[in-house]
């Protein structure tokens, strides 16, 4: 039982970690980033390359990959997405435009990864050592990823709720029209939020590469998972991400242990649909105007 719970928590932490960047990009910047998973895999490749080519510990690699994720996302927003933002008359129109643009982006990023690394599966071993926690044996790399996911999630939550910059990011999320009335540069703040999401997805990619097998084509799996967590938790809500991620992870692990591993996907979707039936805007979401 404890083992199932631990495993579920760690899996859930990973889901939350995957989704946090998307909730910022979608919730604040209103960019439905279909190339999100590709960026995650790109960060995983970067980590793989640093680890196998330069013997750089992935945890130290974070110090390089996270700023790179921030920078690349900022550039992407400035070059590709800002024209769409300026053109869009409504947020709905921006969502549609951004879906089209990032759909193209998805193939470009995938193409770059394919040409650099080929289509094969990649995996490496880092901190794949057992640690004993309350008498249960867990993999250290997963444990570290979980710890960092929770730490990053809480730090970000505090930053968003307790600081002026964080509050202004949330202001853009809830009402970009009103945000300009309090001297918020909405486009700049959106760019910042998008880039912050890029930094988060880069962190997720690095951490996940320590224990998951990936290939240039595996991005879409992560985009889907992130989308489910984001929608279930409430778009733009970090706590929602954390809670939804943990709920999915726990249910998956408990069902796999006590019922049947074959039902995990079904239970995940049942949970997802159940939440949306009761709260269409997600666990922590507020009704859309």
């Amino acid at each position: 039982m404890t083992n199932a719970i631990f495993t579920g928590l760690m899996l859930g932490g990973m889901y939350a970690l995957i989704a946090m960047g998307l909730t910022l990009q979608y919730g604040v910047a209103r960019i439905m980033n279909l190339s999100y998973g590709e960026f995650l895999v790109a960060a995983a490749f970067a980590s793989y390359w640093l680890f196998t080519g330069w013997a750089l510990n992935p945890l130290l690699g974070l110090a390089l990959v996270i700023p790179a994720g921030f920078g690349v996302s900022l550039l992407l927003y400035r070059v590709l997405l800002t024209p769409l933002v300026r053109r869009a008359r409504t947020r709905g129109a921006l969502e549609v435009d951004s879906i089209l643009a990032t759909f193209g982006m998805m193939f470009i990023v995938q193409g770059i990864m394919l040409s650099m690394f080929g289509g094969a599966y990649f995996s490496y071993s880092f901190l794949a050592i057992p640690v004993s926690l309350f008498g249960e044996i867990l993999a250290l790399n997963r444990l570290i990823a979980f710890g960092l996911a929770v730490a990053v999630g809480l730090a970000l939550y505090l930053a968003l709720t307790r600081t002026r910059l964080g509050t202004s990011i949330r202001a853009v999320a809830v009402d970009p029209m009103a945000a300009q009335l309090v001297a918020i540069d909405v486009v700049r703040t959106s760019a910042f939020a998008f880039a912050l999401g890029g930094a988060l997805v880069a962190a997720a990619g690095v951490l996940i590469s320590m224990f998951l097998t990936f290939s240039a084509s595996s991005g879409v799996i992560f985009t889907m998972k992130a989308l489910i967590v984001v929608v279930m938790g409430g778009v733009g809500n970090l706590l929602g991400c954390l809670v939804a991620g943990l709920a999915l992870g726990l249910s998956e692990s408990l069902v796999a242990t006590f019922v049947d591993p074959g039902l995990t996907l079904a239970v995940n979707f049942a949970l997802f649909l159940g939440v949306l039936l009761v709260k269409p805007a997600g666990l922590f979401g507020r009704a859309q105007r």
Binding site: R164, T167, S168, R170, A171, V174, D175, M177, A178, A179, Q180, L181, V182, A183, I184, D185, V186, R286
Partner: protein
Amino acid sequence: MLEVANIGVTYGQHHALTDASLSVGRGEIVVILGANGAGKTSLLKAIAGIVACLPGKRVTLSGRDIAGLPAHEIVEAGLALVPEGRGIFADLTVAENLLLGANPKRARDGEAARRERVLSLFPRLGERLGQTVRTMSGGEQQMVAIGRALMSNPDVLLLDEPSLGLSPLLVRELFASLRKVRESGVGLLLVEQNARESLAIADRGYLIENGKITGSGTGTELMSNDAVQRAYLGGIVASAL
């Protein structure tokens, strides 16, 4: 303080506002009266930089040219708008709305003192700092909207029909607060359909019809103006308030 000349707004082919000019002085309350669809909201939005205007306009604030600046920089220059429908962050708390109000750099110095002043102007907000704005009454939401705008340390405050949807008692309270705001030196440009109450506190006013400014005068002049009488005051000379 605020000088606006030859401002015009079109939506596609439709001219919503043509060649409007007006001014608001320091500590002055200026009212704009006009029927629905006359172009009042368009005028305020154009001044605040939220809708694009036709070329040729001039907007200066304390002598500084602010025409064509993006909306967030106009707030930074000292002009705050309380829009139609209030434009507050309904999903955030009162405290967060006030914090965001003080977001412009010009508002950082003396933020705490200004907050004190806002809370003494609207004591009810002080009791409900942690409440989500969405769950508050219309009058309270209007207080949040005005309080948030005041937090930006504006030189001129633009208000678009603040009395809409409020009970007569609340309207009176609201206008009393506005008078206090003016005492601190802030210029007020007030769009209203409630002519009686607004003219009573106004120093001056403008009439706007079909996108054009058709008349102006002091509050008392307008109150006795025939056209105003007919259109807004039901033909009865307002008794002195």
